[in-house]
C-alpha cells in the first residue's frame, strides 16, 4: 500500500512541477506581448504630447530618437509612482534564484528610483551580490544611463557600503539610496548588536534591565537611519525570506514574483499596485 501512495505522490509532484513550468512560460509570453502593446500605445500618445503636435504629416513618419523614448518612459514611470495610493519608502529586492542576472536587477533598481522609491536593498542568500558589489553598482549606473537618459543626474544614487558609514559615491542631490545585503546583515547583525550591549553591561555602563525594543532597534539601525522595508519583492519560486533582515521585516509586505530574469516593468509595477492595495491594521 505504501508503494501505491508513494507512486501517487510522485505523479502529483511531477504534475505540479509541470504546471509551474508551463505557467511560468505562459506568463513571460503574455507579459511580453502585453508590454509591447502598452509601449506602442503610450508612445503613440505621449510622444506627440511631449514634443507638441506638428502640422507636417511627414514629420510623424520620422523615427523617434532614443532620447525621446527615454523621456516618455521617465514621465510614465514618474506618473505611475504618483498614481499609486501608497508607494514603499524602502523596497527589498530578494533574489531567491540560483544565478542572478545583473542587468535585470539593475533594471529593477532603476525602475524603483524612477517611480520614486527612496531606498532600495538588494539581497541574495548566498552573499553573491555582496562579493560582487562593484559589478552590481556599475551595472546599475549603466542601466540608469540607458533607461533614464540625459536626466540620469537627477536620479543620483547613493550606494551604502556596510563596512564604513561613508557612502561610496558623494552626489549633489541624493534621490535614492541603494544597499547591498547578505545573510550577514540578518541574524549576525543581531548577534553583533547583542555583543555590543553585553560589552556595555560588562563595563557597567548599562544594566541588563535597561534594554528595551527601541534601544535594540537603534543599536541595529546604527547611524545610517535607513527605515524598515515596507515591501519585499521576492523573485523565484522558493517560498521563504531566506534570512533577509529578520528584525526589520516585522510589518513588511512580501510579494512574490516568479523570476527576475527578463522581468518587465509591467510585471514590476503590478507588484507595486498589489502593495498599494494592502491594508495594515497594526494589531488594532
Amino acid at each position: 500500500m505504501a508503494v501505491v501512495y508513494e507512486f501517487v505522490w510522485r505523479m502529483l509532484h511531477a504534475l505540479l512541477h509541470l504546471q509551474r513550468t508551463l505557467l511560468s512560460w505562459f506568463r513571460i509570453r503574455i507579459w511580453n506581448w502585453t508590454w509591447r502593446l502598452w509601449r506602442r500605445a503610450v508612445a503613440a500618445v505621449l510622444v506627440p504630447a511631449v514634443f507638441g503636435f506638428q502640422n507636417h504629416p511627414h514629420n510623424n513618419k520620422k523615427l523617434v530618437p532614443t532620447g525621446c523614448k527615454k523621456s516618455c518612459c521617465r514621465v510614465l514611470w514618474k506618473s505611475d509612482g504618483k498614481s499609486l495610493e501608497k508607494l514603499p519608502l524602502h523596497i527589498g529586492l530578494l533574489i531567491a534564484e540560483e544565478e542572478p542576472r545583473y542587468t535585470d536587477i539593475a533594471n529593477l533598481v532603476v525602475w524603483c528610483m524612477a517611480v520614486g522609491i527612496s531606498y532600495v536593498s538588494v539581497y541574495d542568500n548566498q552573499g553573491i551580490f555582496r562579493r560582487n558589489n562593484s559589478r552590481l553598482m556599475d551595472e546599475i549606473l549603466k542601466q540608469q544611463q540607458e533607461l533614464l537618459g540625459l536626466d540620469s543626474l537627477k536620479y543620483s544614487v547613493e550606494f551604502l557600503n556596510n563596512s564604513t558609514d561613508k557612502p561610496e559615491q558623494q552626489v549633489l542631490s541624493c534621490q535614492a539610496t541603494v544597499k547591498v545585503l547578505s545573510p550577514d546583515d540578518g541574524k549576525r547583525g543581531i548577534v553583533t548588536a547583542a555583543q555590543k550591549f553585553c560589552q556595555l553591561v560588562e563595563q557597567q555602563q548599562k544594566r541588563s534591565t535597561d534594554l528595551d525594543v527601541n534601544m535594540l532597534d537603534s543599536l541595529l539601525r546604527g547611524t545610517k537611519g535607513v527605515p524598515d522595508p515596507d515591501l519585499v519583492m521576492k523573485f523565484g519560486t522558493v517560498a521563504s525570506t531566506l534570512g533577509f533582515l529578520p528584525w526589520h521585516i516585522r510589518l513588511t509586505e512580501i510579494i512574490s514574483l516568479p523570476s527576475h530574469i527578463n522581468i518587465t516593468y509591467e510585471h514590476f509595477f503590478s507588484a507595486l499596485k498589489c502593495y498599494a492595495g494592502c491594508e495594515q491594521r497594526l494589531g488594532k
Binding site: L16, R20, A194, C198, S208, V213, I254
Partner: protein, 338 residues
C-alpha cells in the same frame, strides 16, 4: 479534550493524508490565525463570536495535525499590539483565554493520556494575574509530556522576544556566567522563548495578508511561508494539505539554504574561537605560539571553556524560567487554600 477536537478523518481525507505522507512532512507548523473579525463581519455576528469560532477551528486543526503526524504546532493567539484594540474586545479575548485554560486544567488526565505538552510564550507579566496563574498551572502540569507540543504565543511579539533573549544574555554577563564574546547565534537561540522547539518548517498565515506581523521573525528565516486567502474560521483540511504540498515543493531548496547557513555558522564560531584564543594568549603574555599544534590546543581549550560557560549559563537560565512558573503556581495554591 476541548483544545483538540475528537474525531477521525474521512476516507478521502485519510487517503490524501497517506499520499502526502509519502513525501517529506513538516515536523513543526506555525499558524497566524488571522481573519476572525472579518469572518464575524461576513456572517453579521459579534466579533467575540468570530474569536470563539477561531478557537474551535484551532481545536479542529490540531486534530488534523495529529492525524498527519505533525507533532509540534505554534500559534499566534494574541500579540502585544492587540492590547491597542477596544477595551471590550481585549476583555472578551482575556475571558476566552480564562475559560479555555481553566477547561484545560479539568482535562489533565486526557492531556496525560495523549502526551500533550502546552507551552505559553510571551511576556506573561502583561496579562491579568489570574490568567498568569492559570497558564502557570497548565504549563507545569504538562511539562513532562512529550508526544506532541502546542506552543501558544500570548502577549507576544518577535521583537520583544529577541530583545528579551539579548537581555537574558546580558544578565548572564552581569552574573559573571558568560563573556560578551560568548554571545552567538546558538546562544541567542537558547535564550528565546522557543528554546525547547526546533524552528518551524512551515508557517501558514490565513486571510490573505502577506506579512509576518512580528511573529517568529528569528525562527522562520528558512521556513516555508504559505499565505492563504481563506479566513481562519473557514480553514479546511484541504487548505492544510495545500500548505503541506507547498512545503514539499520547497523542501529541497530550503534544506539546501539551511545547510549553507549552518555551515557558515560553524565556520564563524571557529574563527571567533581562534581570535579569542589568540587574544587570550596575547593577554597572558605568552604571545602567539609558532607551533601550529600548540595553537590548535589553545583554540580547543578555549572552545571547551566557552562551551562550559555557556552550559552553566543555560542551566541557570532554565532554573530562572522554571522559578517564574513555580512561584506563580505557589501563589495559586496558597490562595486556593486560604
Amino acid at each position: 479534550m476541548s483544545w483538540i477536537r475528537k474525531g477521525e478523518l474521512t476516507l478521502i481525507e485519510r487517503l490524501s493524508a497517506n499520499i502526502l505522507k509519502a513525501g517529506p512532512m513538516p515536523k513543526h507548523v506555525a499558524f497566524i490565525m488571522d481573519g476572525n473579525r472579518r469572518y464575524a463581519r461576513k456572517l453579521h455576528v459579534e466579533r467575540q463570536q468570530g474569536h470563539t469560532q477561531g478557537f474551535d477551528k484551532l481545536a479542529e486543526t490540531l486534530r488534523w495535525c495529529l492525524n498527519l503526524e505533525i507533532r509540534e504546532v505554534t500559534v499566534y493567539a494574541f500579540s502585544i499590539e492587540n492590547f491597542k484594540r477596544a477595551k471590550d474586545e481585549v476583555d472578551g479575548l482575556m475571558e476566552l483565554a480564562r475559560q479555555k485554560f481553566s477547561r484545560l486544567l479539568d482535562e489533565q488526565e486526557d492531556l496525560e493520556k495523549h502526551g500533550v505538552c502546552i507551552r505559553v510564550l510571551g511576556d506573561l507579566t502583561l496579562l491579568p494575574l489570574d490568567i498568569q496563574k492559570l497558564i502557570a498551572q497548565a504549563v507545569l502540569a504538562t511539562k513532562n509530556h512529550n508526544k506532541c507540543f502546542l506552543n501558544v504565543c500570548f502577549a507576544y511579539t518577535s521583537r520583544h522576544e529577541i530583545t528579551n533573549a539579548v537581555k537574558e544574555a546580558a544578565w548572564g554577563v552581569e552574573q559573571g556566567l558568560i563573556k560578551p564574546c560568548d554571545v552567538s547565534e546558538f546562544l541567542l537561540d537558547e535564550c528565546l522563548y522557543t528554546s525547547n522547539s526546533p524552528d518551524p518548517d512551515l508557517l501558514i498565515r490565513t486571510s490573505g495578508e502577506v506579512r509576518l506581523s512580528d511573529f517568529l521573525l528569528w525562527q522562520t528565516t528558512y521556513s516555508c511561508l504559505v499565505f492563504q486567502s481563506i479566513l481562519w474560521p473557514e480553514y479546511s483540511f484541504w487548505n492544510l494539505c495545500e500548505a503541506i504540498l507547498q512545503y514539499q515543493l520547497n523542501h529541497h531548496a530550503l534544506q539546501k539554504a539551511r545547510d549553507l547557513h549552518a555551515e557558515a555558522r560553524v565556520l564563524r564560531q571557529l574563527e571567533a574561537d581562534r581570535c579569542c584564543a589568540a587574544e587570550l594568549l596575547q593577554q597572558t603574555g605568552l604571545g602567539k605560539p609558532l607551533d601550529p599544534q600548540l595553537r590548535q590546543e589553545a583554540v580547543q581549550k578555549y572552545t571547551a571553556e566557552r562551551e562550559g560557560r555557556v552550559h552553566s549559563f543555560l542551566t541557570a537560565l532554565q532554573e530562572k524560567r522554571d522559578r517564574f512558573f513555580t512561584d506563580l503556581n505557589k501563589g495559586s495554591i496558597a490562595s486556593a487554600k486560604a
